[in-house]
Symmetry: D2
Subunit: 342 residues, 4 copies
């Protein structure tokens, strides 16, 4: 079986496992007050060029998103998110469970927000019987694998600052975004253009863990208390610092993300050569082929994948994902097998 189900289907990168093993018997102070966590937070501040950022490690993406949003907003403030945003469609109402409305914005299939999509909502919400939109949620890469260009993110950032909106970037797949051919952003750009974002570990080589970077100092106050309140403080907090240190200190994080992107792009190119169209052209580690329904039973034997949706009566959109643990050979072998099938 070729493994394209997702990018969180194996444990961690071997280097990360070694790092965890190396500290396993050491006595360390809990709740993230340890030197490993502090050292890694310093490294992240350095990589982001943000000496005053607050770096907060949490366990998972949903947790990071709702804890940050609950910390940043007042009760009457709402979130502007693409309809396809992870917080809107895949987190079981986690943001609403903190009391905040998500206003879903229809976007092109790439899932990207832009000022022209936001402006009409802001006008509508001048009515005081509505919530006050206060935070714009985007992800890079988006749910459909697209990336923001520097021009796009800059324009969005200026718009947000002009309209007193926080810009929050979900970086569950930030590694793959930043190593995509379509990308011209750097970590430093992202840190300077957003109010907060997270560097995803779960989907790029860690057992678990996301590193939230709060660059807007007005949003940093008392973050530990709400993190605790939302169950996001890991007792053995150093486990997160140690993993991110292993991933970030020598560039492993970006190296393995680049690999994932390359494998996926190779797959996408190969499938297109075989005449299989894509729902959307993705430049990252997730691709979305449209396959005839008749092919699905054979695919089921050939590889793991996810059904993304119905394309039409006789076609289905599937999602294939590559990760650090997907050898290029998988793509080659899979394409050969598909060629034989079609």
């Amino acid at each position: 079986m070729y493994q394209f189900r997702n990018d969180y289907s194996v444990g961690c990168h071997p280097v990360v496992l070694e790092a965890l093993s190396a500290v396993n018997t050491e006595h360390v102070v809990g709740y993230g007050a340890d030197p490993y966590t502090q050292k890694c937070a310093d490294l992240i501040r350095e990589l982001c060029g943000t000496p005053n950022a607050d770096v907060q490690f949490m366990v998972g993406g949903t947790q990071t998103n709702f804890t940050a949003i609950a910390a940043f907003l007042r009760p009457w403030e709402s979130v502007l998110s693409p309809v396809s945003g992870h917080i809107n469609g895949h987190e079981s109402g986690a943001v609403e469970a903190t009391g905040h409305k998500i206003i879903p914005i229809h976007t092109p299939i790439n899932g990207k927000l832009s000022p022209s999509l936001l402006l009409p909502i802001l006008d509508e919400c001048k009515d005081k019987h509505l919530t006050m939109p206060r935070l714009v949620y985007i992800s890079d890469a988006t749910e459909t694998g697209s990336v923001y260009t520097k021009a796009e993110l800059t324009e969005l950032s200026l718009f947000c600052r002009h309209h007193d909106l926080f810009l929050y970037l979900d970086g569950a797949r930030l590694g793959c975004a930043l190593t995509s051919q379509a990308n011209d952003l750097t970590l430093t750009d992202i840190a300077s253009l957003t109010d907060a974002f997270y560097i995803g570990g779960t989907k790029n080589g860690a057992l678990m863990g996301e590193a939230l970077v709060i660059t807007n100092q007005a949003l940093q106050a008392d973050f530990f208390r709400i993190k605790k309140q939302r169950g996001a403080v890991l007792a053995k907090g150093w486990l997160l610092g140690v993993q991110f240190q292993a991933l970030l200190q020598d560039g492993l994080y970006f190296k393995i993300a680049k690999h994932a992107v390359e494998v996926a792009q190779y797959l996408q190119g190969g499938l297109k050569n075989l005449g299989i169209p894509m729902m959307v052209e993705s430049p990252t580690n997730q691709i979305f082929p449209i396959v005839p329904n008749s092919l699905l039973p054979q695919l089921d034997k050939l590889c793991t994948y996810e059904v993304w949706g119905k394309a039409d009566e006789s076609h289905t959109v599937i999602r294939l994902v590559a990760s650090f643990a997907t050898p290029l050979d998988s793509a080659t072998g899979f394409l050969k097998a598909i060629k034989n099938l079609t």
Copy 2:
């Protein structure tokens, strides 16, 4: 330095690390739908003698407590907890953040609840301008190291059933409770006397993880959705199943808990022999010596520990904790050093 700070200051037991390493490169389906998780849930049901229990693995104790309580209660229902209960005093308002009031009950220093402490509150809450108490929160061992006897837990359980109250047991330190000399309860007893409880991993040999056992079938509906909503679904869910399997399958969980208790009891006995009194006689892995303030600077050099509170103007209650990672030698060496000091 002797290490008595807490029972979550090292990584995991070596057997757990081996188990994690063994599956590290395997492709596994996410979010706890994997065979490891299912197999371990079966094992826990078997150990608890509860074939119909729902077993839900989560990452930490605070998360487990508030997710369970939010899942079980209706908005107007409240929680009865000892003043010293972890949810009342150490979780940054996590339960209240889900919308539920905690009614704090004053208890003896052992932190245990009993029907006679609860009854007056129930009477008071017949007034419909108050919340409806619906869940009794206890922990075993308690925050001050005490354990419930079978007679006590049975009495409390009957009382709760009679008054339509759910009985929830926080088992962050359940291993040490069940292996204490003062204990006459079994896992099976606990499963049959409560509506839900959790078997703590974080404080007894796991990297992280708690196994919530929901024995009351009326409380099981749709638990996954709220677990997801509260950030408690680990993407690589099998990491929890694998760890608990390693701990539970051959009794390692109880063996290491028993060791922790024995070391702490040895310490407690030794300190008492040296004339140092205890705030409360604890039969588990945490002890609470009352030491002269003048001793603290020397203790600071000798060991890690936590200050529990002020005993009087010249004395301080400290907490010493043993874990699977505390060799008996630590206790021996520490007692010798203290003897030389006093």
Copy 3:
């Protein structure tokens, strides 16, 4: 000035004021435990043909909606509402503030839901990473003045029961809906086809007040406690019972609603005769003419109204509303004045 701004711009119907005055100096027990409230609840049960319904008086519509929804749902359950639903667009995130997601459903301009609009959402939400839709929110009349037919409401009701969804009907303008020419429903029908609904007082002759009728007995438990918790228990609760008694005991409620509908329909017919089109054909007390922007300055001098939205670059949709306090003369005079203007 002709007054068409809304149906809550004067105090109460004179009969209601008399009833309030008549009891003003009497000593009555508080919080709705008084005989007036009980008697009126009995009357409502009788009018609805629901001897087992729980009738709960509250002060306003937003309050009634979110208190009911918070009482009925578990934390992971969500609400299906038309995009145009009052809870989605006019209540400042009140439902989300209770922790529940609203899933907005696109509808025709009449704002009505039907099974075919709901079914795709239910399919999508079989995914356990999403909320569980559990309550369908509709209003009768809708925000754009439309009414459900008996066939439509019956079909929706059957669909909801089949899919284990509660059907909740916002009756802020129920009086006008039930007295519309387009209506073939009765109060009894509504009571038997929904799980809960409210009879609106604020917009039909009361100073304030809505009467929530919970027909589904499974949803009745402990309602008083959550009503208190959400600030919806009026200390002088009898003020609500007395008002509804005055409105309902001799059919005044429906008589004045019918008047409002007739005036609005007269207006709508007259404007159409003058060549002014409607955004939607409304059969109730709100109408939505599309007027040239150039007419607005003159309208501003002639009457009160609300701007509903932009029709195109040179036209605006306005809303004109009639109430018990709008004499038919207003409509006649206004039409004459408009005729002179156009």
Copy 4:
């Protein structure tokens, strides 16, 4: 029957009813944007000597308390309240339902907070695993009828400012507090010493309504939106402005409060002369006699009252309340009747 059950058991003062009647047929803009509301807000700012205060009218006390607290606090912040505080014991968990913990403080029987009671809690809460106390809730008069002196309130206010705590005063019975013989505070003092407080209408002559005065400008932002969200915006908002105007413009509010206090004090004095002790010496309109249980059946025939609690096996604390609607004759007659009984 003599009527001493509470101070909200009749409708409104005749002058208030006249004022409501006078505007009943007038067309007024909704949601508090009307001239009556604005004029009354101006009057309140003037009476309080606070030109920059935000005045927000709401319907009831519970609603005012939780809306204000939810507006003022961040999610991890908590409320310090006397155990006897209305928000802690009589509002069905309304504050917790907004997500905030109430930390109950034990006080003397008078229910008053002071710095020495608060300081130990603040010390304890330096621990970041706890909530951050941020708002001190007091009431004047307290639940047991006591009033703060100017010295006490000044000391508390200074303490709060020093410790970055908001001071919020529940003025459900502010009229009676300020007209008590024991009082030396003015409205202006209260406005300058607190961050927000409310002037209670429900318990002093209005049909319903409380006027929240937010003096701290940092707490004023967007209050309307959260008021709407919590169901606290009355559609016919002017009903509140009109009532408070009638009560406040010529001092009626204080005149009738003073009357209530005098009647209650007369009762208290008379009962003490008859040898009936008080649970607490109250200087306002509520008194708390301790009566033999054997007297209760006769009291039940003689007057309305509330049972406050058990004094000992053979005695009960009852509460007698006077209001604007309690003639002095009631007190005289009642005392005479009691004298005959005992």
